[in-house]
């Protein structure tokens, strides 16, 4: 028994040493490399037809094809601007209304229960309503994205406002701060880590709901291109678009996270 434990521990350590050799920045690459090796092996084995499970090189050439024809760049810019517009509307409203429901009793009474009821409704369920209201143009995409982002940002902002430590408020009041200054310089900064967590979640949700909105009723964008690829059974293109969506989302999330660390530098971890 004791021997087993030692073996396990030694094994763990040598793996750990292997990892430290790679460095923290290289760790994701190890994981990607591992998956790529498996994927290549499956591709070489010929177990699956290309139309079901394309090999890495097919996906790569599909990507190059889309890039060279210009379709990829057009779709990227259309999708990104939709996500950006929808996110901006939703996040602005979310922070604004969250600050109010968190702070003004009347607004909280009027809106909090209703908004809570909306939260479980998934973005994709809204697409039919959005199309009836706004048509299949940009309006319906903005609506679905901003709605989803709004709820996430509102919820986190509202809760951040609830957990402002009482001692901060007491300190501010005993230091003679006006209501306005108490709000702007104490309540909002104290809630800022929560607000920012909401914004980060909102960015991720903007992508999720973007694809939901584009899958039905769009003539451009990454989501539309996925749907189009299905009609032509271009699984290689689907894989390419899915990977692009993943990389795009992860990159933007990392950027938002970095900005957040700068803005709320006092919050560790």
């Amino acid at each position: 028994m004791a021997l087993n434990e030692t073996q396990i521990r030694t094994g763990g350590r040598s793996f750990g040493q292997m990892m430290t050799g790679v460095g923290s920045a290289g760790k994701p690459l190890v994981s990607f490399g591992f998956v790529l090796v498996i994927w290549t092996a499956v591709g070489l084995s010929g177990w699956f037809p290309e139309s079901i499970f394309p090999a890495p090189w097919s996906v790569w050439s599909a990507t190059v094809e889309m890039a060279q024809s210009g379709v990829l760049w057009r779709d990227l810019s259309v999708s990104l601007s939709r996500a950006a517009v929808g996110f901006s509307i939703g996040a602005t409203l979310g922070v604004g209304i969250g600050l109010m429901t968190g702070r003004v009793a009347l607004v909280r009474t009027l809106l909090h229960p209703f908004l809570n009821l909306l939260r479980p409704i998934p973005a994709i369920a809204l697409v039919p309503v959005a199309i009836v209201w706004f048509g299949i143009g940009e309006g319906s995409k903005y609506f679905v994205i901003s709605y989803t982002v709004f709820l996430a940002v509102w919820f986190n902002t509202h809760h951040g406002m609830q957990y402002v430590p009482e001692t901060y408020l007491r300190a501010a009041r005993s230091l003679g701060a006006s209501k306005v200054r108490e709000f702007a310089q104490v309540v909002v900064p104290a809630a800022a880590p929560h607000i920012f967590a909401g914004i980060r979640l909102g960015v991720a949700l903007a992508f999720l709901s973007l694809v939901a909105a584009e899958l039905s009723g769009a003539s451009s964008g990454l989501g539309f291109r996925l749907q189009e690829a299905r009609q032509f059974i271009r699984t290689d293109r689907m894989f390419s678009l899915l990977i692009i969506l993943g990389l795009l989302g992860a990159t933007i999330d990392m950027i938002v996270h970095r900005i957040g660390q700068r803005l709320v530098h006092w919050e560790q971890g």
Binding site: T167, Y168, R170, A171, A172, R173, S174, L175, G176, A177, S178, R181, Q185, V186, P189, A190, A192, V264, H265, W266, E267, Q268
Partner: protein
Amino acid sequence: MKGDVSARQLCIRFDGRDGPVTALAPTDLDLKPGTFTALIGPSGCGKSTLMNAIGGFVPPSSGSLTLDGDPITGPSEKVGVIFQQYALFPWFTALDNVQFGLKRLRLSRAEETDRAMAALEEVGLTAHKDKYPQALSGGMKQRVAIARTFAFGPEVLLMDEPFGALDAQTRLIMHSLLIRVWQKHKATVLFVTHDVDEALLLADHVHVMSAAPGRLIRQYDLPQARPRTMRGAPELLDIREEIIGLLHPAAMSA
């Protein structure tokens, strides 16, 4: 001279789960301008409640509570508070924290900075003015809090176990620093602590509270000159024994 606190039959009750709970039984207390009073008692006896009432954070249930003859109705800049958890704003630097309390004076920018810098200098933290509270030690944080509170010149200073989280060595340094700053500004101080020695070394008057519901059961006047040491004043040792007996009656009889 201002900073005259007077409580008459002051009683504070809260609504608990099983009906009202008396946190502070009817209490008379006078804090004369410029005096240093320590309040000591078992935990949960209501000493923080009494302090919160004077700070205007908790309304009296009955009785009267006045500052310079006017009823205390809420927090005011006349009453400065220093909390055990420091309550520095982590999003502001040490200097910004001190300036926060000066804003209401509507000074010019330069004047405000000068005054905040002078306050930091008094507590020996000029070199750390641009640091955020997270980068400061516990003792340094409390020094910033002291600077922040004294900077705007409160008449009354409430301190709720301010050095409770500090190690013994730092605590001694903070004691002499507090006495020095207080003697310069001459605010009326109410100092809550559960450390008997701390009360005896610092205060002009020591009030001992009973276990919940709290009331003041004994008062000691300490005319000894500062700085004090327990060894230098044998009568303090006798008082210490008495207070410990009051705080832990069971331990004494055992």
